[in-house]
Symmetry: C2
Subunit: 200 residues, 2 copies
């Protein structure tokens, strides 16, 4: 009796379910939330998505999502062009940028190596990173992929590609997050926090 | 430094964040997932949403999302028109329909009473339910809102509106879900499961 789901709704749920991180339930919720909106607002929302697709593309140099050919970071002459911070997605760079602590350039991979999702090195902007490092006077590459199994694997894959070049390669630090309760930290994080202890 | 987020992307995140059940992070994830798709596929996805908004609307009688004026349930002459099953959303009805155990009609509220989200009785299809029951030869109304605090409140609000009419009003049963582990069930569910024990 499942065929009472109207075709146009079923298609949306099917397509959204195939996005990473979405399942059938979350796709249904999104579809129903949009159908429940006043129709004018819903159409406006969809138009905002379309506008995003028309205007936003990866920066020619670093892959950061931007409306210009060069992102605001790459086109900022005051940035330190000898340091490249490698992140999985644009929003990781936006988050680092909010700290105001980083003055170098970014390189956006567009994901992480994931055998399960069949994402290989060819699917990521890894070759263009190696080219950038070769062509530009780079002193340091900071690998700021996520502290997950897949982020670690991606960082170590890139490390192996770059290790014979005359540059410093660093990994973003593991440690206790601010506000954490020590006894609740997982063993790996706690071990890393001890290993990387810093003098006061 | 947050202003490196491009405007067209920020707008999508802002609008999606305002949907119920979405926060900033899940909105970012949706936006990036769509930007990461091959552009042609992404545009196709957005067009599928637009098509959904053009084709799908609530059934004139029961509020179920449908492409026709009357949904397949309301227009099916073999259905038992004296029983109305009241659900929060269309997907609840689709789920009940999949069981094949219900042969009556539906009534879709389009949500649940929620003081926190400022959803009042006027925002839901409650008045139209009372009208339907008055106008049609109804014998039973089954309140199948979710077994949550808000779903309960909605059911009891509707119960109070209908209780003086000459109909049976029932509530979908509480009990242990199939496959559950008894010792892990919450007290309320376990108490209800005992209270509503059925002879074997």
């Amino acid at each position: 009796m499942e065929n009472i789901i109207p075709e146009a709704l079923r298609k949306v749920v099917e397509e959204v379910s195939s996005l990473p991180g979405y399942g059938e339930k979350s796709a249904q919720r999104l579809a129903v939330n949009i159908l429940n909106m006043p129709r004018g607002e819903a159409i406006q929302l969809i138009k905002t998505f379309m506008e995003m697709l028309e205007k936003i593309h990866p920066c020619r140099e670093c892959g950061l999502y931007t409306e210009e050919e060069l992102c605001p970071v790459c086109s900022d002459e005051t940035r330190d062009r000898s340091t490249i911070c490698v992140v999985e997605e644009s929003f990781d760079a936006f988050a680092i940028e909010r700290t105001g602590k980083f003055r170098g350039l970014y390189h956006v991979l567009g994901g992480r190596l994931s055998p399960l999702e069949e994402i290989t090195a060819e699917d990521l902007n890894i070759e263009s990173l190696v080219e950038r490092v070769k062509k530009n006077p780079t002193k340091e590459v900071i690998l700021a992929t996520n502290p997950t199994v897949e982020g670690e694997a991606t960082a170590s894959y890139i490390y192996n590609l770059l290790k014979n070049m005359d540059i410093t390669i660093s990994r973003i630090a593991y440690g206790l997050p601010f506000g954490a309760v020590l006894e609740n930290a997982d063993d790996f994080t706690l071990a890393k926090a001890l290993e990387h202890k810093t003098p006061i």
